[in-house]
Amino acid sequence: MEPASAPADAVSSWRATNTRRMGFSALGCGLLLVSFAADVATGPAMLPIPAVLRSLAGLGSDAMLDAIVRTLRLPIALMAAVVGAALGLSGAVMQTVLNNALASSYTLGISAAAGFGAALAILVGASLPVPEAWAIPAAAFAFAGLACALVAGVGRLRGATPELLVLAGIACLFLFQALLSLLQFLASPEALQQIVFWLFGSLQRSSMAKVGIVALVFAVTLPVVLADAWRLTALRLGDERARALGVRVDTLRLRCFVVVSLLTGAAVAFVGTIGFIGLVAPHIARILVGEDQRHLLPASAVFGALLLSAASVASKLILPGTVFPIGIVTALLGVPFFAWLVLASRGRP
């Protein structure tokens, strides 16, 4: 054992670390603003960023440019940011409560369940009493909640461990993927095309009303998880230690599953299945700000928003004049990035 020396004061050192962590989150917010402006400026007609900023501030003098910015591109850019934030936050919460760095709504079948719900609504759309534009997200939301409930239900079993919950999530993934394949097999060519397009993930169906719903869900759930930030941090020491510190682990996990189902359901419902954001954003945040969840949760949301916003820009630049489905872009960019992240963090405690 090393002898105790005269160290820098532990409290001041911790405060300095926290200031540095907030700096990283602030940097993420700055990059998000840049990406957001680029997202609005990018499209079939490339707009100058100063003109975009003037238009967003209500100081624009070009009616055509104002219409493009506010009516067409603003909802898409905002949707990319709020959906990215929701997926980043839900991924961070899941990875913490399941003590598994590979947990996300995508890998645990919640997105697959939402996809099945959307496909079901597309197939029976004509017979539903609500417009298809709302029936599909509603069904996706409902099935995302169902998948979360199934996993959470397993968590209520006596002796359930985080590993069992992950296995339950993987079982959910295969179940809903199989059901989705069945629906695709049964679907007419027209419905099949619509289902496949939905599964690609796309921001092009965004509207300010839909942005408002996702933003509202995010605004309601963020304070709920932040109120549990210290308890979630304690959970990183393992269930037994968290219990010893006074955390009611099962109740906390259940509460987090409700939050995750709301966040994922709202995000996936309007834009389709988007992978890797919920997986990668918390990893980036963890490397930069550590695992004090007071910092990790907001940072995961910020970097999730930044990643999806940047992917939205990329989706319009890959093939000028064509908007690639965002789900394909996040996967194509996310896989090499994630591989690099995993390799770079080898040996890190």
Binding site: M1, A4, A8, V11, L226, R231, T233, G246, G290
Partner: protein, 250 residues
């Protein structure tokens, strides 16, 4: 004074702890000994309030589960990206607010200083050696300012220098803070030297409770472990146990 009366722990149909009763006074260190699977950890978890049990548990005329009790589970490798200071601060979880109060920060700093590990504060918990990690978790339970300290194998997998350091600090903290300390140990000689009393378990039952010299006897240890031992007198008067051979089954 911690009082446990007829504490029973069952896992399904198996009884891990069978109607154990004991009392431990403030300032006293009780070591729980016994073979693997004898129910030591289950008893400790029941006392800590993290394991459902039957029976009566009380200390300071209060039976509020968890409050005032510092419980340190067995050591396990952690990959959490948390600093030692944050781990110790979590010991204050019951009072921690989103914006951490000066009182909680001071308590965490004091616990690190008390164990002489302030220099580890900024290190990540996953980077620490087993001995350093044990001291950080001991600081975590002390940061909560407990009245009862429950430790599950605090010296397991530690070399003799670290074992000695942990046990000396534990003894010192118990005396200074007038703690009621109960530790599950495997090392009979460490228990003989550092504990005021020893509780010896076999098959979930208490088969010996008393001063080390009274409990650590050849017939009792043969009954507990199935091993023939030789008991010597140590230089400081404590018994020294030498395992000799597996006792023949009669």
């Amino acid at each position: 004074m911690l009082r446990a009366h007829a504490v029973t722990v069952r896992y399904g149909r198996r009884t891990a702890v069978d109607a154990v009763s004991l009392e431990v006074a403030p300032g006293e260190v009780l070591a729980i000994l016994g073979a693997n699977g004898s129910g030591k950890s289950s008893l400790l978890r029941a006392l800590a309030g993290v394991q459902r049990c039957q029976g009566v548990l009380a200390w300071n005329e209060s039976a509020a589960p968890g409050a005032g009790i510092g419980y340190m589970p067995q050591d396990s490798m952690l990959r959490a990206a948390l600093t030692a200071f944050e781990v110790v601060l979590l010991g204050r979880l019951r009072s921690l607010a989103f914006r951490v109060s000066e009182q909680d920060l001071v308590a965490a700093r004091a616990a690190l200083a008390e164990l002489g590990i302030s220099d580890l504060a900024a290190r990540r918990i996953g980077e620490l050696s087993g001995g350093q990690r044990q001291l950080v978790f001991l600081a975590q339970v002390l940061a909560a300012d407990p009245q009862v300290l429950l430790l599950d194998e605090p010296t397991s997998a530690l070399d003799i220098a670290h074992q000695l350091q942990v046990l000396v600090l534990l003894r010192r903290a118990t005396a200074r803070r007038r703690l009621t300390t109960i530790a599950v140990l495997h090392d009979l000689n460490a228990a003989a030297r550092f504990a005021d009393r020893i509780a010896l378990m076999r098959d979930g039952q208490l088969i010996g409770l008393g001063r080390p010299a009274d409990v650590l006897t050849t017939p009792v240890l043969r009954h507990a472990y199935g091993v023939d031992v030789c008991i010597l007198a140590g230089p400081d008067g404590h018994p020294v146990v030498l395992p000799m051979q597996i006792a023949p089954v009669l």
